[in-house]
C-alpha cells in the first residue's frame, strides 16, 4: 500500500500542487513526502451517501490521487438532508455521476474511478484489488460483512463507520494483527429483531461527523503517522455530544481473521445476513 512505496517512487508535486497543499506541506507530519504519499494513494469509498459524501469530499480535497466510488443508486430528495455531495438539481441522477462531478470540481487532478455495480462476492476481489485502503460507508449488513471479509482476505485496511439515529461508530479493521468487524460482531442481527434505521431516521449531521473521522483515519494510514482507531471502537453520541471508546481485540477464534479461519473465500452474504442458521 501507499505507506510502503519508496520515496523515490512517489509522484512529484507540480507547482500548482505545492501551492494548493501549502497548509499540509507546512505540517511536519505531512510535508512534501506525505503529500506525495497522498498523491500516490488509491482509496475505495464503498457508497457515496451519508458517510461517503464527507469522506470522499475531504479525501479529494486532501490530495488523494485516486478515489474509487462504488454506488448503484440514484439521488433521492430524502437523501439531501445528509448526503452533502449531492445537490437538489441532482435528484434523479446517478449518485456516481453526481459525486464524481463535485469531486472533480473540487480537485481537477483527482482520478475518480466509478464502479456502478452492486458489490458482491463475485466482483469484490476484482474491484478492491487495485486500492490501498477501503472506506466502508455502507448502510447494510451484507455489504459490510462482504467488505470486511474482502479486506481481510486481501490484506487491505478497512476504515469503518456506521450510524443510527443520533449514534455513530468508527474504527479501523483488517490492519496487520488488528481486529476485523467479525471479531467485534461475529454475526449480524436477524431481520426484525433490531429496529431499522429507515423506521428510526438519522440526524443529517451525524454521518458528517463519522465520515470525517473515517477520512481522518484514511489520511493517517496513508501518511503512516499518528495512532489509528485499529484496536479501538469510537462511539459517538450526538445528543449528549459525547465521544468514548472501547477496546477491540483480534479474536483468535474469528472465522475470517483468526488463527484457524473457516472463511477463506467469499460466502453468500445475503444468505448469511438473512437470519437463517446456515453459515459459510
Amino acid at each position: 500500500m501507499a505507506t510502503v512505496i519508496e520515496s523515490a517512487q512517489l509522484p512529484e508535486l507540480s507547482t500548482e500542487e505545492l501551492s494548493r497543499y501549502a497548509r499540509h506541506l507546512s505540517l511536519p507530519e505531512v510535508g512534501t513526502e506525505g503529500q506525495r504519499k497522498l498523491k500516490a494513494a488509491r482509496v475505495l469509498c464503498v457508497g457515496t451517501g451519508g458517510l461517503g459524501s464527507p469522506l470522499a469530499f475531504y479525501l479529494a480535497a486532501a490530495g488523494i490521487g485516486t478515489l474509487g466510488l462504488v454506488d448503484f443508486d440514484v439521488v433521492d430528495a430524502s437523501n439531501l438532508q445528509r448526503q452533502i455531495i449531492h445537490s437538489t438539481r441532482d435528484i434523479g441522477r446517478k449518485k456516481l455521476d453526481s459525486a464524481a462531478e463535485k469531486l472533480q470540481a473540487l480537485n481537477p487532478t483527482l482520478n475518480v474511478v466509478k464502479h456502478e455495480i452492486m458489490l458482491s462476492s463475485a466482483n469484490a476481489l476484482d474491484i478492491l484489488k487495485d486500492y490501498d485502503i477501503v472506506a466502508d460507508g455502507t448502510d447494510n449488513f451484507p455489504t459490510r460483512y462482504l467488505v470486511n471479509d474482502a479486506c481481510v482476505l486481501l490484506g487491505k485496511p478497512n476504515v469503518y463507520g456506521s450510524i443510527f439515529r443520533f449514534e455513530g461508530q468508527a474504527s479501523v479493521f483488517a490492519t496487520k494483527d488488528g481486529p476485523c468487524y467479525r471479531c467485534l460482531y461475529p454475526e449480524p442481527p436477524p431481520p426484525g429483531l433490531v429496529p431499522s434505521c429507515a423506521e428510526g431516521g438519522v440526524l443529517g449531521v451525524l454521518p458528517g461527523v463519522i465520515g470525517v473521522i473515517q477520512a481522518t483515519e484514511a489520511v493517517k494510514i496513508i501518511l503512516g503517522k499518528g495512532k489509528t482507531l485499529s484496536g479501538r471502537l469510537m462511539l459517538y453520541d450526538a445528543m449528549d455530544m459525547h465521544f468514548r471508546e472501547v477496546k477491540l481485540r483480534r479474536d483468535p477464534a474469528c472465522p475470517v481473521c483468526g488463527d484457524s479461519p473457516t472463511i477463506t473465500e467469499y460466502v453468500d452474504y445475503v444468505e448469511f445476513c438473512s437470519g437463517r442458521p446456515a453459515r459459510a
Binding site: 451517501g49 461517503g52 455502507t138 450510524i163 443510527f164 461475529p186 431499522s196 454521518p207 444468505e271
Partner: protein, 106 residues
C-alpha cells in the same frame, strides 16, 4: 452501577439512555436490568440464555468476553456497563426483505 442502553434498544427499556442497578457482578447487573425491562431479554440473549452474537458488552472499556471471569466479573457502583449492538445506516438492517444488496448509501 450504570448500564448504558444503546439507541436501538431504548424502546425496550422504557426509553432510558441509562439504567442504574445494584449488582455485584456483570451477570447480576444484566439480571437486574432484564427483570426491570423484560422486553430487553429477547434482544440481548438467545433461547439458550447466551448473549447474542451481534451484541457486545463492555465493562468500562473492556469487552466482557475477554475478562478472565467474563460475566461473573465483580462490579462496583462506579463501574459502567455498555451494551453495544451492531448498527447500520439508512435502510433496513440485515437481509432486508428483498434480500437486496444494491443500496449502499450510508
Amino acid at each position: 452501577m450504570t448500564i448504558f442502553i444503546p439507541t436501538p434498544l431504548r424502546a425496550f427499556a422504557g426509553g432510558s439512555k441509562a439504567v442504574e442497578v445494584q449488582a455485584s457482578s456483570v451477570a447480576a447487573a444484566l439480571d437486574s436490568l432484564t427483570s426491570a425491562h423484560p422486553a430487553l431479554r429477547n434482544h440481548l440473549f438467545n433461547a439458550e440464555g447466551k448473549l447474542r452474537a451481534f451484541v457486545n458488552l463492555y465493562l468500562n472499556d473492556e469487552d466482557v468476553r475477554y475478562l478472565p471471569a467474563k460475566e461473573a466479573t465483580a462490579v462496583s457502583s462506579s463501574d459502567t456497563l455498555s451494551i453495544i449492538p451492531s448498527i447500520a445506516g439508512g435502510i433496513a438492517t440485515a437481509g432486508n426483505r428483498t434480500g437486496s444488496m444494491r443500496r449502499v448509501r450510508g
